[in-house]
Symmetry: C2
Subunit: 185 residues, 2 copies
DNA sequence: ATACAATATAAGACTTAGCATATATAGGAA
DNA sequence: TTCCTATATATGCTAAGTCTTATATTGTAT
């Protein structure tokens, strides 16, 4: 359901095609909710079936017609209700932690390499975050009012805070292993 | 694929039935990888097809026969290779952040309530973490060597660190809104 | 007396997401 | 010349996970 509301959120700013939305996703919320092109198109159909969006066909030559989706009053009401409701928490899922849970099978040297590698990945993701804000390209004007921009930055802050805490966690483990705090096999 | 390796990891400690595994999951790695009962049974079948586990049927009266799964040499090799490989990162997905991204639609008062509610959820999850370690019940002896226990605690530390950083994030936003740093609608 | 929990496995239906591929044309790069 | 990219939508297939229900008995709680 999350994708439905993400799309409704953007349609609430401005009417868009599936193609537009894919590019908007990739330059804005991709860092916490990547979306597949086919998934976006299917979800737009569903929004229309639900009466939350309406499709306007704009004919083109040489290319498929553009299908511009507009949010409806019902869609706007649904969005506001969802935004007002509780955070949609969902179950936590971290595949890397599965690897860590069973990592006692590895040698101490392999473990140091593993956590150093993990720290390196976190640093790389942090470096990526630095390049995210303010590249909405042609959609810039339609979306980024100061208030909207504020909340965009909050989602980035959250990602950065989490990555930093993961980085510190990994680094502290390397320290502990080097200091002999890891029980032997 | 993650579930396959989680199950292989436990079978590497000791042979288990699907029923056992469900209870072990719920009392150990549930906080970062919850698993459905039907999913566990299906995955055990797949492990057997792959030659990574073997099933031993233990007849019972009045109840379905127990099917105890043993890891094979091939399964152990596969597990070790996976553990030695890179962290299986996977795409980040956070439905709550979608809500935050579009939350500028809400009033300032509603926003303070939202972030305070978010902080309360984080505190509740942190309180839950305190009660996780050392309740493996009847499976305690088979699994928790000091080294295994060390890595279990590391996964808990990671969850706690992330929840704390989310909590601080939410609290700092409440502060900022109260101090008038939120652009008006 | 009746309902619920524990023991044990299984399959069907459904949702979400991901990957590949198809269609069709124009323009720029190698 | 050939290949890649941009524009624009759509479908088929698969994987992973969730929810529900089925079967069958014993013991415990209300």
């Amino acid at each position: 359901m999350s994708l439905e509301y993400a799309i409704l959120g953007f349609l609430n700013y401005h009417p868009y095609t599936g193609y537009d939305l894919k590019k908007i996703f990739d330059t804005s919320i991709r860092h916490f909710w990547p979306a597949d092109q086919s998934q976006i198109y299917r979800t737009l159909s569903r929004l229309t079936e639900n009466g939350w969006a309406e499709m306007e066909k704009i004919p083109q030559e040489d290319r498929p017609d553009r299908k511009v989706y507009h949010i409806t009053d019902a869609g706007r009401a649904e969005l506001m209700q969802w935004l007002s409701g509780p955070p949609p928490m969902g179950e936590p899922r971290s595949a890397p932690l599965i690897q860590i849970f069973f990592a006692g099978q590895l040698s101490d040297e392999a473990l140091i390499a593993k956590f150093e590698g993990f720290a390196a990945i976190m640093r790389a993701i942090l470096a990526q975050y630095d390049q995210i804000p303010g590249q909405l390209g042609p959609y810039q004007d339609e979306i980024t009012s100061p208030r909207e921009h504020f909340f965009w930055l909050l989602t980035l802050e959250n990602g950065i805070a989490n990555m930093r805490s993961n980085l510190e966690w990994a680094e502290s483990i390397v320290e502990r292993i080097k200091n002999g705090h890891l029980p032997p096999q």
